[in-house]
Subunit: 442 residues, 2 copies
């Protein structure tokens, strides 16, 4: 028997779950189909577990930095303990998320689903029909297509690793590679990071990326730039990565070379939904080429960063759209961050684009001698702020420091609220804090 | 010979220094007279050194909290090292501040100064005459007037203490007492905090204060509430504090019972400047009862919290006023914070005042199980947010957590910018961070 819903959502991640709850508040009937963990990438195998494991790096680095500056004694990451601490948080997520949906009156299906030739959703033995459908199936780690690729592990494996090997290698210098490399290094592993060209973290300010890389090199992380790995082989207990003039034996290899949208096994060919290599193509209403089918979250083909709060925002948009709103989706600034020590964060107009000096003023500061960074003996703290001369507002900012997230969130609010610098300087903020420093940065 | 200036400023602290530089940008002639350290309380013996020493508490507490949750090993505060780390920052401040003034063309006098009977400033052998005068002499620690009071030490002594004694006592449970008690406890001292009634930190939410006190008690700090110390005596190597039914032997006693405005030795009686017990009385233009004499910073009699950013704001106001602006001074929200583990911060309307339920909605959250606090295993994390039902904006917030300053600064911006909650919820903030949690608090 076919079950009929107002909206059927494929994918029970951040976007899918959030939209489902919102639609229930509108008294709509909703089904959510999820073939993996309810809650999706972010809380199960993404942002949240990553940042729990990052606590190991934060604590050990802080103790190292403060050694001789007021702190005696040494600490180390106990990986099994840290993993247990992570699992305490992540293990209940999927059930709790599913139960939350169910108790809100949402039908959940823990099945892999696809559109069949009649345009209905087949979820196991169930057939689901919706007035509207929403694709929110997210992405999965991409695997480099080379001989031996079955020996690769992924970020998902890393975030659930029982023991940290002595020597680990990450292939791909995007934000996932950088973040996991920092965590593994703090946990005591010898870490290699391989990148195919010499522009890792290409979407970030390259001058600050280069300073971050130099710093991580000093700490002992090995960077192998301009390196194409062409084969992985098992040699005894180790894996050997090889390429032209390159050979690296290592214990474990994580492929962190990007993510692939989950569009290939959900029957999109049956319902005329167009995709490209970045995901499902949508218009300004998140509507696909099939007018009854929408898409949101990481599965969407977009130049926007694919981030949890973006997915949440899109879910919020669709909830309003399905409730009658006819506005196009419009985004505020989207800050992006590579968590680590240091963290690298950016929002708004990058300084590399804001080169017209008659229009923009670029203020660059090395903050490492500033009070806030001296007190914790932070070795690296830089900020670049782009100011629009005409409006006298901040329009972009990049921050490299252990506390970059604090500053980037303040800058995000300043940009979105179009606060004039003179108005921000009238703010009285808790002193001394990273936020009160902002008045010296603009 | 009398030296003539546009403006003579008594006090080379945050307010005085800032105003002097601003006036120079207006091409005015300026003198700054300081009898102690240039830079004043904040960078020499206030906020900045305090928060450097607080790093000891932050690091040891973090390691303790994470023990068994991913971190192995123990650390301790090395007080002499920490003090050296502090002095590296504070020692150069006075000279650097004075040199900064001098190189900006400001005349500096390192003398105790007072208004003489002719209404001129006598600074050592110099006589200074100004078109306008500004009193910015700040405050000093109050000393409880009891027998043995010469045995008391002050916050200034604490912030320059070469060795941490085994057993230290603070008299006065205001924010200075709490902050220093936390620092001393982290440094390994047995700590007593004595307060004359049972409402310490009286300007803060008493429910959260009580929870903070309970937490600090569990960590081993001894609180002696409703206790009046009536005498201090030296007995051998120790001091003994005594009162009715109270006797406490201890190694060192810090009087943290408030601060006294520096108004008593600057000849105000010669120039008809009115004071009360809170300081120099001023009108809405920071003008004293003598129209040519102004006052700003901690020395002003006010119900506002006496804080560094308030002093800076007042200096900015006077710079504009002296440049022809005729606006009254108007303050944005003033956040206040007791730094510590946990820190307690508050801004805007307190929940104890916003009791009209038809007008205000109070949202109270225990955040300790939330992701951001789980990851660092923070034991105590609470927030109270007051929302105006009519305007749908945040009008007040109180936060108790190790990271209260981060949240309180976000709330301060929301209050001042009168951001509607629906607008804040459209913000995309770096995730997961304390700032992105705010959308769950409102």
């Amino acid at each position: 028997m076919t079950k009929q819903y107002d909206v059927v959502i494929l994918g029970g991640g951040v976007a899918g779950g959030s939209l489902a709850h919102s639609l229930r508040r509108q008294k709509k009937t909703v089904a959510v189909v999820e073939d993996n963990l309810f809650g999706g990438t972010c809380p199960n195998r993404g942002c949240d577990p990553k940042k729990i494991l990052l606590a190991g790096l934060e604590v050990t680095q802080l103790v190292d930095d403060m050694q001789g500056n007021g702190i005696s004694g040494k600490v180390s990451v106990n990986w099994p303990d840290l993993m247990r601490h992570k699992r305490q948080y992540t293990n209940p997520i999927s059930n709790a998320t599913q139960n939350g949906l169910i108790s809100d009156g949402i039908d959940t299906y823990h099945e892999h689903a696809h559109f069949n030739q009649d345009g209905l959703i087949e979820a196991g033995s169930d057939l689901l029909s919706g007035d509207k459908y929403v694709i929110a199936t997210g992405q999965r780690p991409s695997i480099l297509d080379i001989p031996g690729k079955e020996l690769f592990k992924t970020s998902t494996d890393f975030l659930n690793l029982d023991q940290m090997p002595s020597d680990v290698t990450f292939i791909g210098g995007g934000y996932i590679g950088f973040e996991l490399a920092g965590i593994a290094h703090a946990a005591g592993a010898k870490v290699h990071l391989i990148h195919h060209n010499d522009h890792p973290l290409k979407q970030f300010d390259q001058q600050l990326v280069s300073q971050a890389v130099d710093h991580l090199k000093k700490l002992g992380i090995d960077f192998h730039m301009d390196t194409d790995v062409k084969e992985v082989t098992q040699v005894g207990d180790q894996l050997v990565l090889s390429g032209d003039d390159f050979r690296l034996p290592t214990d474990m290899v994580f492929c962190t070379a990007g993510r692939t949208p989950n569009v290939d096994t959900i029957g999109l060919e049956n319902v005329n939904v167009k995709t490209d290599k970045h995901g499902v193509v949508v218009n300004d209403y998140l509507q696909t080429s099939n007018p009854n089918i929408f898409a949101m979250g990481d599965v969407v083909s977009t130049k926007r960063p694919k981030l949890t709060p973006v997915a949440g925002f899109e879910a919020g948009y669709l909830a309003k759209y399905f409730n009658g709103s006819t506005d196009k989706i419009q985004f505020k600034s989207i800050p992006t961050i590579v968590f680590g020590q240091p963290a690298l964060a950016q929002v708004g107009l990058p300084s590399s684009i804001a080169t017209d000096e008659s229009r923009y003023m670029l203020i660059t500061n090395d903050m490492s001698a500033w009070y806030s960074y001296h007190r914790l003996n932070e070795p690296l703290a830089k900020a670049k702020v782009v100011i629009d001369r005409d409006t006298e507002t901040v329009v972009g900012a990049t921050v490299l420091s252990n506390h970059a997230d604090y500053l980037i969130n303040i800058f995000t609010l300043m940009i979105d609220q179009q606060m004039k610098i003179s108005d921000f300087n009238k703010e009285i903020l808790a002193y001394p804090t990273f936020a009160s420093d902002v008045q010296y940065l603009i």
